[in-house]
């Protein structure tokens, strides 16, 4: 089997690589970063469909209104999670997304109502987002402090910045031009536009992470910053890009929300940042960086929303929604671990 010249480890125990070669297609699915969450999602979906067919009047899962609703809702946290996910892969946290999600669209709406042209107002939102991301990155990397702390501080600073600048907590009517509202929140055939955009953004994130040079660098700096530096990768710049992308994705999500509701408010939208991280972890991303897939994030967002939908549709007391969400988060991560470990 092995010649003298060959570097095979003939008599050693089979390495994981050997096992991979022999592994079945099924095992390869489980090994994929999005494998466990994919299995979870499929199981959940299958269960929902079966239940809906068995109890069509009590469990209206398959009603087109419900399906559309799910597709409309998944992007809320999903879009934020895409950015948070990219940053997690780079090995850093961003807790400030919850504030960015509120403040940048608020700035956009304020500028727009003050007569700025819409493209300029949108550009303003993205500029502020990029600025916040840049600041997060510069403080974290420049001083070498944990991003958890930088962005925790930034969460509070950004959250209070809008009310501080305009003097009061405010809400601004944002009546966007019909074409914008239709493109962002209308529907494409039976599929709501937010979901279409979510998939488009997911594709962009995928192209960036898996097909682009900088994405490759993001994986490297998150997986092993020392090895990345050794390979000549500019760790500082790569992480900075990831920080900025994270804020930008939060802003996109915020703009969708504002267009959908026709209003921008300074109300703190509590716990968004934690949900975004939960989605990523359910989707198979590692909190210590370097691992994960965009498919995992998309499926993670779907799973979280599906579970919430199931809880409400099955008429469990909505009063205790939080409780089920909590169980779900832990369970999701546990399933992730178990499925992977079985390999």
């Amino acid at each position: 089997m092995t010649s003298e010249n060959d570097l095979a480890l003939a008599a050693g125990p089979p390495s994981a690589a050997d096992r991979y070669r022999r592994a079945s297609r099924w095992a390869r699915v489980r090994m994929h970063p999005a494998g466990p969450v994919g299995i979870m999602f499929s199981g959940l979906l299958l269960g929902c469909i079966v239940m809906a067919l068995l109890f069509p009047s009590d469990f209206v899962f398959l009603a087109s209104a419900n399906l559309k609703l799910i597709l409309r809702t998944v992007p809320n946290y999903g879009m934020i999670a895409l950015g948070v996910g990219i940053l997690l892969v780079a090995g850093e946290y961003d807790l400030s997304v919850g504030a960015v999600y509120v403040v940048t669209p608020f700035a956009m709406a304020t500028a727009y109502t003050q007569g700025w042209p819409l493209p300029l107002a949108i550009a303003l939102a993205f500029a502020i987002a990029a600025g916040i991301g840049l600041l997060n990155g510069l403080i974290t990397l420049g001083f070498g402090i944990p991003s958890f702390i930088t962005t925790l501080g930034m969460l509070f600073i950004v959250r209070t910045s809008a009310p501080f600048i305009v003097g009061y907590a405010r809400s601004v009517n944002f009546t966007s031009p019909p074409w914008l509202k239709d493109t962002l929140t209308g529907s494409l055939g039976p599929v709501p536009m937010p979901f279409v955009w979510f998939l488009v953004l997911a594709l962009v994130a995928y192209a960036f992470l898996n097909r682009h040079r900088t994405g490759n660098h993001v994986f490297a700096v998150g997986g092993d910053p020392k090895a990345a530096r050794f390979a000549g990768i500019n760790v500082f710049r790569t992480k900075l890009v990831a920080f900025m992308l994270c804020s930008v994705f939060a802003t996109i999500a915020g703009i969708f929300s504002v267009v959908r509701l026709n209003t921008a408010m300074t109300n703190p939208q509590l716990f968004i940042e934690l949900f975004a991280i939960a989605i990523c972890v359910i989707g198979g991303l590692s909190l210590s960086g370097g691992r994960g897939s965009v498919a995992g994030i998309v499926l993670g967002a779907c799973v979280l929303q599906l579970v919430q939908d199931v809880i409400i549709l099955s008429r469990l007391p909505g009063f205790y929604l939080d409780m089920f969400v909590g169980i779900m988060i832990v369970l999701g991560v546990v399933i992730n671990q178990v499925v992977r470990r079985k390999f």
Partner: protein, 354 residues
């Protein structure tokens, strides 16, 4: 452990070259929490000095204000000590606000009305619940092998539901605040005025701090904890029961949070279910702990630093009230204080070690 990619012996020798000054000064400089000690001393000194010079402009050092601080700071600091010990062990607890709320609920419910347990038994029951919560957090984290950040995020949401359930008012079927009047003796014990602006909470803080210090610096457990948080593999290699150490730390964290919750409940005679949801105690505690020089990644931290971190955060807040700062700026200041203090800790720390 040899790490060939690390510094060479020559470099290490260079690092070990004697620092200037006498040994006492060196010991002070090498103390882990020295930055925060200096920072808090300067800040408090400035505030006290200013308020003594111009008592009409800044009433920081007035009896009334110090009384408020001496009742509030210990509560935050006690929570922070638990969170800090856990963080030294390399883990987070996002669910402390839930524990902080649920435990006094248990005490208040079991000690009154149809339950009517003696207060001592109720207190023990409350602390037992805290231990259970800590055990749950610890088991989920260590046995199921999921990050504590996520595990306790889950239990945070879970406990909100539990709190809503236990706080249901039997007549209105709605969650409700519960009055908590545990009797004068306990009130004096847990929240009485000792002398001047010194309240019983201060003594309890000192007690908890001493226990925390003894555990962390004078007990085998502390050594295990530092090792577990600092270098898990090394800890396993030398036979430290890493999982048990972490579970114990989770339980300590929950017990301190629950105890602080009881202190709070005794002081304000009431327990509110909403506290678990909107207080943001978990982030405030983490902020206090890292401001106090504790490493977010575990393995490094000092009890005094953690307490001073809580002192700094609460005092900054207090000063902002006293100078009539705009309401919108408060949380922003908490954020800025956190970032700046941690920058100060790391940068000065790095320079001192250089």
């Amino acid at each position: 452990m040899s790490t060939p990619a690390g510094p060479t012996n020559a470099e290490l020798a260079a690092l070990r070259r004697p620092a200037a000054g006498n040994p006492t000064w060196r010991a002070v400089r090498n103390y882990q929490a020295i930055n925060i000690v200096v920072l808090v001393t300067l800040f408090l000194g400035f505030c006290t000095g200013y308020s003594l010079l111009y008592p009409d402009q800044l009433r920081f050092a007035s009896l009334g204000n110090l009384s408020v601080l001496s009742q509030q700071v210990p509560v935050t600091a006690i929570v922070a000590i638990g969170v800090g010990l856990l963080m030294i062990g390399g883990e987070f607890d996002i669910a402390v606000a839930g524990t902080f709320t649920l435990v006094p609920f248990v005490v208040a419910i079991t000690s009154a009305g149809s339950w009517g347990w003696p207060i001592g038994v109720s207190l023990l029951a409350g602390l037992a619940v805290a231990l259970l919560i800590g055990l749950m957090n610890g088991m989920i984290t260590t046995r199921l092998g999921i990050p504590s950040f996520i595990a306790t995020l889950g239990t945070m949401f879970f406990m909100r539901g539990v709190i809503r359930f236990v706080s249901l008012n039997p007549t209105t079927k709605q969650p409700d605040n519960i009055a908590f009047f545990p009797g004068d003796a306990l009130k004096a014990l847990l929240g009485g005025q000792i002398i001047g602006p010194i309240y019983a909470q201060m003594l309890w803080l000192i007690g908890v701090a001493l226990i925390g210090y003894a555990l962390l610096n004078r007990h085998r457990f502390g050594n295990h904890l530092l090792l577990t948080g600092g270098n898990r593999d090394a800890a396993v290699a030398v036979g430290v029961p890493v999982r048990n150490v972490k579970v114990t730390a989770f339980m300590l964290c929950a017990v301190t949070a629950g105890f602080a919750g009881i202190l709070q409940g005794v002081r304000i005679n009431q327990v509110e279910p909403s506290f678990a949801t909107i207080s943001g105690l978990e982030l405030k505690a983490i902020a206090a702990v890292v401001v106090g020089g504790t490493s977010l990644f575990g393995g490094r931290g000092a009890i005094l630093g953690i307490i001073l971190g809580a002192v700094l955060i609460e005092t900054v807040d207090n000063i902002l009230v006293l100078i009539s700062a705009p309401e919108t700026i408060f949380k922003g200041f908490l954020g800025a204080t956190t970032i700046l203090a941690v920058i100060l800790n790391t940068v000065i720390g790095r320079r001192a070690r250089r």
